[in-house]
Symmetry: C2
Subunit: 282 residues, 2 copies
């Protein structure tokens, strides 16, 4: 697989074998469509706006699969539309709605440690007398006081339940890399000597729900993401082909990751889409 590190003919050959039955694409958003942060909430990655249009006019099914938990899906999609993307709320699989389903199913009443802007997603969830903690990418809400409050809820429970909306290490904003929810999940796991339950990527169930929405099988889908573990590794464990883009949080050392090897590496989403559509046209 040495050759796959360089975008060249052998890579394309590898892909083409897998592209025959492809019916849909699953796209990560942050680091693939755009880099978040800054005044407008982020900047599109060159070529990505057009790439999404091309997918939609190709006849391929399309689903966006994000661990974004700094905003409600509505607000998040509005931002992406403002940036120029052709995207609607119903095309997006996100952790907060998935967590709400779990909370209701298991009669869990959460103490929330999340971003202010995602709180409305939990509007109809009973939060009195909490018997679990839900953490998301709370960013500046990850103060010592707030983490301590969540810790005190957990350490006071006989059977502590921690639901984590993702387990990412960091993400890229326009002004640099930022710590993601996984870091604080690990902090609470260590503090309480417990294991969190991850809702969102790389959980298999999360990818599966995206595929169900598209009504296709794992082997009929390609995941494209910038996170070698949570996008690529998670999708592969679900049975999908997965490509890593060299945008967003991508770092060259990802291509020598000890546990995860992408099915292909591409410079950006635009390149991935061009390769895929060209092969499918044959």
């Amino acid at each position: 697989m040495q050759a796959s590190r360089v975008y060249s003919f052998p890579v394309m050959a590898d892909w083409s074998k897998r592209l025959a039955g492809i019916k849909g694409l699953v796209l990560d958003i942050s680091g693939v469509l755009y880099d978040s942060g800054g005044e407008g909430g982020g900047v599109p990655i060159p070529g990505s706006i057009e790439a999404v249009k091309k997918i939609k006019s190709s006849g391929l099914k399309l689903r966006f699969c994000t661990n974004e938990t700094q905003a409600t899906r509505d607000k998040f999609v509005e931002k992406l539309q403002r940036l120029g993307f052709d995207i609607v709320v119903d095309e997006v699989t996100a952790p907060a709605p998935a967590a709400c389903r779990i909370l209701k199913e298991r009669n869990l009443r959460p103490h929330l440690l999340v971003h202010d802007d995602v709180i409305p997603e939990f509007a109809d969830i009973n939060k009195a007398d909490p018997n679990c903690v839900v953490i998301g990418d709370a960013a500046d809400n990850f103060s010592y006081k707030n983490l301590n409050d969540a810790f005190q809820v957990l350490i006071g429970l006989e059977n502590p339940v921690l639901l984590s909306l993702g387990k990412g290490r960091y993400y890229k904003e326009t002004d640099g890399l930022k710590l993601d929810v996984g870091v604080y999940m690990k902090a609470l796991e260590y503090a309480c000597d417990i294991q969190a339950e991850v809702v969102g990527k790389p959980a298999k169930m999360f990818f599966q729900s995206a595929l169900t929405e598209m009504d296709i099988e794992p082997h009929q889908a390609i995941m494209i993401g910038d996170d070698i573990v949570n996008d690529v590794g998670g999708a592969q464990r679900c049975g999908m082909t997965a490509l890593q883009v060299r945008t967003g949080k991508y770092r060259p050392c990802d291509e020598q990751h000890p546990e995860v090897k992408a099915d292909g590496y591409v410079n950006n989403l635009a390149e991935a889409v061009d390769v895929i559509l060209k092969q499918l046209d044959k």
Copy 2:
């Protein structure tokens, strides 16, 4: 060892076998001498002030071994003196001075993520163009911004070095349990996929330096602490006998800890000292 969970004759018999050659005691401070927090900076644990006096008049050597990094040793000892304890700076082994020795030996220039009040300990350390991160119990300084700044230093280094002043999970203040430095150490370890180097308990070298100060061997010393892993486990790995007090952060489940079994459990420091002195008098 079932019987050792209750303070009763079999426990005393166990200890007495070990007490024959004992020449010195090593005491943890927070949770053993006093509970920190609140207006006066904490409250003495009943009987502890007298227990320290008894040790000093017994002829046993005495050393205080703390992971306290919310203040300089000077300020910390001043507070304990105000609370009524017979203690001087030279009797205290603490992580910050130990870290300074390591920084100098290895030409490391730290980015500090520590409590404001411990910064003076690092006054004569070169902190320009950092090539490592030192974290201590920074408490409210553990903001998202500050943890992110430390992360960005580490992720930008070719060989990231993280020195952690302890690895405790939590400690007890007068108003409840509080997250300790180990939680944030784990957070940065996960974020950067690295292993921190722990300065302070439970590092063997840290206990050894306390013994060296007393000029005694491990088998001649008893450690008394409230932390089953960092006090008891660390001291035992260094070859010392170790007792856990049922004060401070002690929780009943500590007595069924999967990895660490104290040589004895006592209700508090006063009780431990009474048992020890009584046995030594025989």
